[in-house]
């Protein structure tokens, strides 16, 4: 049913339709509205049978999900940012144990400096953990991906993380078609675990494995991820057959057929990029967009195919590997290796810095002109950075750089002046 609804609410209602049996939650912005809504449904009895557990940390949240999943229950939690990092040991463990937990990641920057706004640093920090990572472009897709995520996770015994941009999606109120129970039940059969803690058939789960088999165990995990490259599009196709709506899949192409320059990105920024591409098309530039929905496993072949016709690739991402550059850009470069594309890496939108259509238009224009360097930080204030570098060179005790930068950019001075006036 079409509703005007907050993204988090849409996720909560869709997760509830997936009949989770154990939901554990620890509050962290911007994921809180999701678990608050599910908690209320469990308490009211509208979501049953389901246990909702307020845990004492994200580490406990993922650990409770591990215990529940190993006992054969459909388990769900949600987190963001610091929360994901706090649970990271258990995140790896869930994947290593092959437990099909589904988690929403409301993407948010990682401190320090502490910052609650959106970027993708959190998701990138766990890209090697063994989870399937799906990125939603819209709230509709975020909701739909959760149904597909449970199906995928349970078929393959691999945990799935649905990444949606914090605030930009989680707190945006917009039109979302919430599926009905019968439709979700058609798409998502009951969970049949491969391994379960059952007194009638006792097994040991999580015992030590030495060098004699560890590499094989890890390689099996890799193969299950490769299986996901086949199942992700099939499940998206099943979803479309049942609901009439295209959602999910590996990659999504926009105006790429004749594109010479293609921008590659993850998540909600794709909408703005598409608008910018439309405008650049009006001035005759042959540009297009490839959105990557399935980031792990990385759909190298699909990406290569989507980019085949382009002479230039611009990978725009809301995260980077400090001391190196783009993370997604590296994966894309590996995928198209040997195809003789020019590849440009753009880091944008860190800590919630708005990625404006105007900036993207300029960026695409520069790329088309051949003026884009190998690595760009979009809308970076180089003057502020240079002045702080100069202060650091001049004075040993130059103080916290974050504060100095804010003073330099006028934010602190303005606030102080306002207080004093």
């Amino acid at each position: 049913m079409l509703r005007q609804i907050e993204g988090s609410r849409a996720i909560a209602e869709t997760v509830a339709l997936c009949r989770p049996e154990v939901v554990c939650a620890y509050p962290i912005s911007p994921q809180t509205h999701i678990i608050e809504a599910i908690g209320a449904m469990v308490k009211a009895g509208t979501l049953a049978p389901c246990e909702f557990i307020n845990v004492e940390s994200e580490f406990a949240a993922m650990s409770v999900a591990i215990g529940a999943s190993a006992t054969g229950a459909r388990a769900y939690t949600a987190t963001a940012s610091q929360g994901l990092l706090y649970m990271i040991e258990a995140v790896y463990n869930a994947a290593g144990l092959g437990l099909p937990i589904v988690m929403t990641l409301a993407n948010r920057a990682i401190g320090a400096p502490i910052n609650i706004w959106n970027d993708h640093s959190d998701a990138m920090a766990v890209r090697d953990a063994g989870w399937i990572q799906l990125f939603a472009e819209t709230n509709q897709e975020a909701a739909d991906l959760h149904v597909q995520a449970f199906r995928l996770a349970e078929e393959l015994s691999v945990p799935v993380m649905v990444c949606m941009d914090g605030f930009i999606l989680t707190h945006a109120v917009e039109r979302v078609d919430i599926l009905d129970q019968a439709t979700v039940d058609r798409l998502l059969p009951p969970y049949e675990p491969r391994q379960v803690l059952d007194p009638a058939d006792p097994v040991s789960i999580g015992a030590m494995v030495g060098p004699e088999a560890f590499e094989e165990v890890r390689y099996l995990a890799h193969l299950r991820q490769l299986d996901a490259l086949v199942r992700v599009p099939q499940i998206a196709s099943d979803f479309e057959v049942v609901t009439g709506r295209a959602s999910g899949g590996l990659v999504n192409c926009y105006r790429t057929d004749d594109a010479e320059t293609i921008v590659v990105a993850l998540g909600s920024v794709l909408g703005t990029i598409k608008d910018a591409v439309d405008l650049r098309r009006e001035v005759g530039e042959r540009v297009g967009v490839v959105g990557i929905t399935c980031f792990r496993p990385f759909p190298g072949d699909a990406v290569r195919e989507a980019l085949r016709g382009a002479s230039q690739i611009v990978v725009l991402e809301k995260a980077f590997s400090v001391g190196f550059g783009g993370v997604l850009a590296t994966d894309v470069a590996m995928s198209v290796h040997g195809d003789h594309h020019e590849l440009r890496s753009v880091v944008a939108g860190l800590g919630g810095r708005p990625i404006t259509r105007r900036s993207l238009e300029d960026l695409i224009g520069a790329a088309v002109r051949g003026d884009l360097p190998a690595l760009t930080f979009l809308d970076l204030d180089h003057g502020s950075v240079d002045r702080e570098r100069a202060r650091m060179a001049k004075t040993r005790r130059s103080g916290p750089s974050a504060e100095n930068l804010l003073r330099d950019r006028g934010t602190v001075g303005v606030a102080k002046a306002r207080r004093e006036s």
Binding site: I53, A68, L197, I205
Partner: protein, 337 residues
């Protein structure tokens, strides 16, 4: 025909042999239908107190639950010596996740069982002292506070023995570990630190908190049975001497556990909803020196450069425990001191 009178206590230890007891008083281990939850063939050291404690505790839990338990294990000696695939010793459903999360994993198991209507299946979580008082404490306190239906058992050998005998918050003062070496003016672990987990557990007002040692296995089994009669969070803290970490002879494990209790250093008691309901009286009080001198981790307190001042401080700790829990009847004191 020569006859020999049967003394009730034949070994001078107050230990009661099963053959002297009525059937219903005998231990679970003496029964033909014991479950062998942790089976023979594991890799524990000779004289391992933890292997003994876990065997008695889990078989007692199995008996109490009609064989319907799921066990969750923290990383540590018990996890390592019992399992390397494919040679698991566990004949019960058993899950190991991480070092610090066993209480939360157990919460998840209990929640799943509740959601699935399997109230007949009970959850036991177990960890060493490191996994309980240090790295697992956040999750443990959360599990206690939520009153999740889990019996958590800490097998306390007073240090990180699996990693090579390092100090934990359960390591007693003056004890040598690899990270509290016997060097400097105050060799061994320092005084005035450490975490008293049973009292912290009691502060959560949970249904049942008890301590036990592997010297009195009847008592250990009874406490497990009592814990299994109750629901909600329950905590059992079992002292399990470690020949490797304590530097003791492997045939002294039971003796040392008994001395720990009989000196007052390890008070054996039980509490319900935060109130101590029973404390095991010291039957034959011994000075702490008798306990310490059997362990190489305290060797620096004796020998060529003895430290009677340090022994005295440890004795004061034992005396404080005796006072706090009323471990000594006045009449007993006259006999033993």
């Amino acid at each position: 025909m020569t006859t020999q009178p049967v003394h009730f206590y034949q070994v001078g230890s107050f230990a009661v042999g099963n053959r002297l007891l009525r059937d219903e008083q005998r231990t679970v281990q003496s029964r033909a239908d014991r479950t062998n939850s942790i089976d023979s063939g594991h890799r524990a050291c000779q004289g391992c107190g933890e292997a003994l404690g876990a065997r008695y505790a889990l078989d007692a839990a199995m008996r109490s639950s009609g064989g319907q338990i799921v066990a969750v294990n923290a990383t540590g000696c018990l996890e390592v010596f019992s399992t390397p695939y494919p040679e698991t010793s566990w004949r019960i459903p058993w899950l190991h996740s991480l070092f610090g999360n066993a209480p939360a994993v157990a919460t998840g198991v209990a929640a799943a069982l509740r959601a699935k209507g399997r109230g007949d299946v009970r959850v036991v979580a177990q960890a060493g002292d490191g996994g309980t008082v240090d790295i697992g404490f956040g999750c443990l306190s959360g599990m206690f506070e939520r009153n999740d239906d889990v019996l958590f058992i800490c097998y306390d050998n007073e240090g990180y023995m699996n990693t090579g005998v390092q100090r934990s918050a359960a390591t007693p003062p003056a004890a040598r570990t690899a990270t509290t070496d016997v060097v400097g003016p105050e060799p061994g672990n320092v005084f005035g630190q450490g975490k008293d987990l049973p009292r912290l557990a009691m502060a959560h007002d949970i249904a049942f908190v008890a301590t036990a040692t592997v010297a009195d296995l009847h008592d250990l089994e009874e406490k497990v049975e009592r814990a299994m009669e109750l629901h909600g969070a329950r905590y059992l803290h079992v002292l399990v001497p470690c020949p490797l970490g304590w530097g003791s002879a492997s045939n002294e494990t039971i003796h040392l556990a008994r001395l720990a209790q009989e000196t007052g250093l390890f008070p054996v008691f039980e509490a319900e909803h935060g109130v101590v309901t029973h404390a095991k009286r010291i039957r034959r009080r011994v000075p702490v020196q008798d306990y310490l001198s059997l362990q190489r981790r305290y060797a620096h307190l004796f020998g060529a450069h003895p430290r009677p001042d340090v022994v005295e401080r440890i004795q004061a700790m034992a005396d404080a425990n005796i006072e706090r829990y009323g471990l000594l009847d006045v009449s007993d004191e006259e006999v033993s001191v």
